[in-house]
């Protein structure tokens, strides 16, 4: 993209609409929420065109605005549905272990070269579905950590949780995703014993 170049807002939807939409969709997992967020981003951008320094590309500037709006959305969700007992109660892997903490049912082998999975369109679709199936707290925490690569201190501020709770939430999110993919994608027979 051209650094510093300003374009006519009349062209924004065609130029940046899909890009911003995909960015929002991956992080919000909801079509209408993502569409609203794109609209809000363009409106905010229109009202603050003076803040575009020209030091970056217009696309980067717009994504910056969108990022803030998504973080606000996460904050709102965390306020509306604060972390409750249910989020921290029994761990999703609990049934896989015996009383001594050994595997009763080990994780199934996922076969093939694991690094190749994420290049498959269908695998990515299942992954998104599984992510959408998590509670907002789990999905948002996972998204901030693994999709955006933010540090835990920053995530704690957005979700208003302690670091210890965040580790628990992240492990639960990973465990739920792992199990969901095992069922929906790999569908393999779980390994027995160890």
């Amino acid at each position: 993209m051209d650094n510093g170049k300003r374009t006519d807002p009349a062209d924004w939807v065609d130029r940046y609409g899909d890009y911003l939409f995909r960015y929002a969709m991956l992080r919000l997992r909801d079509r209408s929420a993502a569409e609203d967020m794109v609209q809000e981003t363009f409106l905010a951008a229109l009202n603050s065109r003076g803040s575009f320094s020209g030091g970056s590309s217009e696309a980067t500037w717009l994504v910056g605005i969108l990022k803030h709006k998504i973080a606000d959305h996460y904050r709102r969700q965390a306020r509306e549905a604060p972390l409750e007992g249910g989020d921290l109660a029994e761990h999703p892997d609990a049934g896989n272990f015996d009383g001594a903490g050994h595997w009763k049912t080990g994780p199934a082998g996922w076969g093939g070269n694991p690094a190749d999975h994420y290049r498959e369109r269908e695998f990515l679709d299942r992954f998104r579905e599984c992510l959408s199936g998590l509670s907002p707290n789990h999905a948002n925490a996972f998204t901030l950590r693994e999709i955006d690569g933010l540090g835990t201190a920053e995530i704690c501020k957005v979700l208003n949780v302690t670091e210890t709770n965040l580790w628990v939430i992240l492990h639960r999110a990973r465990a739920l995703l792992r199990r969901c993919l095992e069922t929906r994608w790999f569908g393999a027979a779980a390994g027995k014993g160890s």
């Binding site: 807002p9 009349a10 924004w12 939807v13 609409g17 899909d18 890009y19 939409f21 995909r22 960015y23 969709m25 991956l26 079509r31 569409e35 794109v38 609209q39 363009f42 409106l43 229109l46 892997d93 272990f97 001594a100 903490g101 050994h102 595997w103 080990g106 994780p107 082998g109 996922w110 694991p114 690094a115 999975h117 994420y118 290049r119 369109r121 695998f123 990515l124 679709d125 992954f127 998104r128 996972f142 998204t143 950590r145 693994e146 999709i147 955006d148 690569g149 835990t152 670091e163 965040l166 580790w167 992240l170 492990h171 990973r174 465990a175 995703l177 792992r178 993919l181 390994g191 160890s194």
Partner: protein, 84 residues
Amino acid sequence: MLSCKDVTHLVSESMDRTLPLGKRVGVRLHLLVCRFCERYRRQLLLLRETARHLALEGETPGEPLPESLSPEARDKIRRSLGTA
């Protein structure tokens, strides 16, 4: 001795912070001898790689675009911007 259950927790935690030395060593030794825990670890790392891949996907020109704004949404946004 760490149980498999402990190790699965620590494997996830190690993806978010540096574990204290004692735990780090304990996990590493356990993973050498436990194929299920090692498999679990690789699968959590695959989740991370997949997430990073999805983040980059939107930025890669020429990739097929899985999702785009609906025509209705485009019109609505254009109207709100006063550029319809």
